[in-house]
């Protein structure tokens, strides 16, 4: 299992060099963005990129011919996503700290929460899509994201920041816990759905 997760690093050797400049770009150019937004970007980068390598039929034939079970392959994707997201967020936090950009723990928590929610929706969808379409889906998604990010950021600035403030102020342990609970449940359901889809896939 650890081998499957480590595989993502070997595959992305070169893209990883892009990771830090990518985050730095957001830290400097995206000064109008909320910090949690950058955490979402950072957390999303490696797992989704890794996923795009796995969309090919050939890769699935390779993985399924090696001594791994389909259950393990899916598990490595979901566990790996959490692992790489965590590492990415730690690196991003360090960069924030070094370049003196203000952020709060709530930014990290919300960033991680949104990222996990995105994973929960995108992974099963990707497993459903025909190979070859995921690249297109990601590209379209990304373009939409860029186009909409302006209005979205404004929207978030307007509405979500108060929500965040609200959460901060009212911040009871219960609210965080229920948020975490919902996301965990979402992630778990997504995992099970992906597992079912993948089990039936033919290569």
């Amino acid at each position: 299992m650890a081998n499957l997760i480590r595989r993502d690093l070997i595959i992305q050797k070169y893209q990883l060099y892009l990771f830090i400049p990518f985050i730095l770009f957001f830290i400097f150019a995206g000064s109008h963005m909320s910090a949690f937004f950058i955490f979402v970007f950072a957390g999303f980068f490696i797992p989704i990129n890794a996923y795009s390598y796995d969309e090919k039929v050939e890769t699935n034939i390779l993985l399924n011919s090696l001594p791994y079970t389909r259950t393990q392959i899916i598990a490595s994707r979901y566990i790996g996503a959490i692992f790489y997201m965590a590492v990415s967020i730690v690196i991003t936090t360090a960069l924030f700290y070094v370049f003196n950009r203000p952020f709060t723990w709530a930014d990290i928590a919300i960033g991680a929460g949104i990222t996990l929610t995105l994973f929960s929706f995108s992974f099963p969808l990707f497993y459903l899509l025909k190979p070859g379409n995921i690249g297109t889906a990601v590209t379209i998604g990304f373009i939409l994201f860029v186009v909409l990010s302006g209005p979205t950021v404004m929207f978030f600035e307007e509405y979500l920041t108060p929500v965040v403030d609200f959460l901060m102020n009212v911040s009871s342990f219960a609210i965080y816990l229920s948020g975490a609970g919902i996301i965990t449940a979402l992630y778990a359901i997504s995992w099970i759905i992906s597992q079912i889809i993948y089990q039936r896939k033919t290569f």
Binding site: N3, I11, S65, L66, P67, Y68, T69, F203
Partner: protein, 289 residues
């Protein structure tokens, strides 16, 4: 254990075609050549054996184990080679081996390096820059470097030049010397099999037509040539498929001894090559099927 692979009554429906109640045993310690035209069902059968496809019905055992509860153990003991490149195209061989190696409990890095040297493969060049032959050799190097007991190869010699093909056949024979290994090898280049195959399985339209040791094929099957007057309702029964021309007939028989007895010196009887057997068997099916 005598059979490494056992298929019992396996059925699988795919869009293109179906496999009906297939029974197949692959014997331990031997090379089995799997032949058939393109689209005959070779790859599908291989995929069933590798558990890339699950059968709709029937049972598949490898090493006497079933995939439902022993998938990892089975695959740990199999080396695989497919007819297309399944490795990450942007990675070089070194990185690919770093992904493959830890998956196996018996990975032998020395062995892998020895094959890489023998095949003259560059370690730092991305896979997509490899020629088809180099990709195949890389794949074979990995399949043979983890002490696999069963080596499953789908068209391993496709895309190789004659020198490389010979080199590979030598290696396959070398790995067979200790008697622990089994090779299942699909190809439509039947001359590869003349040399190393112990058993021949011929498949057509998802159905196994022949499954025999090579010497039985050589003894029983023959191409018979003679003049048309020799053919009548009584004599035609000895042939699987007859091709007539104004100058005489050519036919395939699987009763060479009987034909020799009946026709004696009136006909020419020649050992049938795998290619001829394949050709006539397929022709016979198109005729009656």
């Amino acid at each position: 254990m005598e059979n490494v692979i056992e298929l019992h009554d396996v059925s699988k429906s795919l869009k293109a075609f179906t496999i009906h109640n297939m029974d197949l045993q692959i014997k331990q310690g031997y090379v089995t050549g799997f032949i058939g035209a393109n689209g005959a069902g070779k790859s599908t059968t291989m995929k069933l054996i590798m558990n890339l496809l699950q059968p709709d019905n029937g049972e598949i055992n490898v090493f006497g184990l079933d995939y439902a509860s022993h998938e990892k153990e089975i695959k740990n003991r199999i080396g695989f080679v497919y007819d297309s490149n399944i490795f990450y195209e942007s990675l070089n061989l070194k990185d690919i081996s770093r992904i493959i190696a830890p998956a196996y409990t018996h990975w032998d890095q020395q062995q892998f390096k020895a094959y890489v040297n023998q095949f003259d493969l560059p370690l730092n060049k991305p896979m997509k820059k490899f020629s088809k032959g180099m990709q195949m050799k890389a794949s074979i190097a990995m399949a043979l470097s983890h002490d696999a007991e069963l080596i499953v190869m789908d068209e391993p010699t496709a895309g190789l030049d004659p020198t490389s093909r010979r080199e590979l056949l030598d290696i396959f024979q070398e790995v067979m010397v200790d008697g622990k290994r089994t090779i299942l090898f699909s190809t439509h280049i039947t001359s590869d099999l003349d040399r190393i195959a112990d058993f021949i399985v011929l498949i057509d339209e998802g159905e196994i037509l022949i499954d025999k040791p090579v010497y039985e094929l050589q003894e029983q099957y023959a191409v018979v040539k003679g003049s048309n007057e020799l053919l009548d309702a009584d004599t035609e029964v000895y042939f699987i498929k007859i091709e007539r021309s104004p100058n005489g007939f050519q036919a395939l028989t699987k009763e060479a001894a009987k034909v020799r007895g009946v026709f004696g010196k009136h006909v020419v009887i020649e050992e049938a090559s795998l290619e001829e057997i394949m050709f006539y068997m397929k022709g016979a099916r198109n005729l009656y099927g």
